[in-house]
Point group: C2
Chain length 247, copies 2
DNA sequence: CAGTGTGTGAATGTCCGACACTAATTCAGT
DNA sequence: ACTGAATTAGTGTCGGACATTCACACACTG
């Protein structure tokens, strides 16, 4: 076995500051929305310089544990999923994951999302979905607008299912996969119509509270996308070439 | 419509520094593994003080875009999935997601993982899996060790499937769900045996390159866990009470 | 009294300069 | 050539400083 290379935290002051505040947030001593003391005060509190406190705060800030509506007010953040999704999206992009990998996962998540949506849907949520669907229908032929609206459509389906874990897990994956539509679209112009049709059926199934049908159409829809990817010959291509545009 | 609340970046120097370096990494100008210049040099380069550069660096560091093997060497990081998983795990914990939500997703991810593993398995990977399984068999009755080994078993299954996206998506979810075993175990002592049996079958199916059977046993296994959660009466309980122990 | 201006104070963003400590590098010794 | 010591340069932390600007309180107007 040999000696394991275990991380030794030399525990720099700025790290300890960050960890201390972090653990107070996670424990609940500091509640979301609560305001933190000023930098000077904290510096005094922890017995370090303001510069050091600042370095620690930068970390918390970037980890999304605190946020500042204005530079003057620093408050404990309310956790949001979309913050995270950009980050894992970026990781996947840097890993140069393939369409195949993205698709295998997306197929499952979108099927689940559709099923749950059909089980949990409320009327107002369906209304939102329909409105999105109409917008999308009007965007036929426009790739970038289609990507935008398609993403929102699928997100809304997931939201209707009221499973936050699914929302968290699927968002970056689906986002990355569907972005690829821009690469695929030129090869399969007929996909626009098929997509609209599939979405229609998903909406109907959700409205009819028919989980099985919703799941089935979601599957068809995502499988269809895979076929398009195959036609474009991109199965094992990296899904994102220019990470930059992820935003 | 009213006035949209649009973010105005006042663009503090430290933010701009971070963004600049970040975009150079994402563009590929800076390649993973490459070493960054010293703080002093960067300060000069960007025309700001070292303190300012440092604040920016803290952010990159915490975002996992750069890492430092030693304080002296700061290099562009190679993206890793386990870095991210703690973060989304923490988010889910703060959201107080329920066992139900976790389970619904985990059921799908682990089924997919098992299937892909059976399709992709190589002999040496199976050997690792078997060894983990043996260790787990020996841990019967020990909840915390079971959680540890069970987590590693499932991760290994996922790794064998060679889908990095799935690995990324499932890790924090499965981790959080299986951690709950500690809460569940006292109610269902028989679960240890059932788990070992299920794992055995998964291993067999993977070794036999039988995707269907692997998926089936994964499903049984995770459904079994759900029954245990139900017996413990935790379906809609928050999966984690003390976020602290997440590490 | 609600809503809008004004003013003061305090906190932030950034800078400068300094020092201990340690890791990377160089160089001497066998 | 390899080991070990000496050098050097870079990091972690410190203290202080200043302009800017945001938060709060207060006065003003309708």
């Amino acid at each position: 076995m040999g000696l394991e290379r275990r991380q030794i935290h030399v525990a720099y002051a700025y790290q300890r500051i960050a960890e201390e505040i972090e653990s107070q947030i996670l424990e609940g001593t500091l509640k979301p929305g609560e305001q933190l003391p000023g930098e000077t005060e904290m510096a005094e509190m922890f017995g370090v310089t303001r510069s050091t406190v600042r370095e620690g705060l930068r970390r918390l800030e970037s980890e999304g544990l605190v946020c500042r509506p204005t530079p003057r007010r620093m408050v404990v953040a309310i956790p949001r999923i979309d913050r995270l999704s950009t980050r894992s999206g970026r990781t996947m992009a840097l890993m140069k994951v393939t369409y195949r990998e993205l698709w295998q996962v997306t197929l499952k998540t979108e099927m689940l999302a559709a099923r749950l949506a059909a089980e949990m849907a409320q009327d107002d949520e369906i209304a939102v979905l329909k409105s999105l669907h109409e917008d999308l229908s009007g965007a036929e032929g426009n790739a970038s607008r289609t990507i935008e609206l398609d993403g929102r459509f699928h997100s809304q389906v997931a939201r209707i299912g009221k499973n936050r874990v699914l929302g968290l897990a699927r968002e970056p994956v689906a986002h990355l996969l569907f972005r690829g539509f821009a690469q695929v679209a030129p090869f399969v112009p007929q996909f626009y119509k098929r997509q609209i049709e599939a979405h229609s059926n998903v909406v109907c199934a959700i409205e009819a509270r028919d989980p099985i049908r919703a799941e089935t159409w979601a599957r068809k829809h995502i499988e269809d996308f895979w076929r398009a990817v195959q036609i474009a010959g991109l199965e094992d291509e990296a899904a994102v070439n220019n990470v930059k545009a992820l935003s």
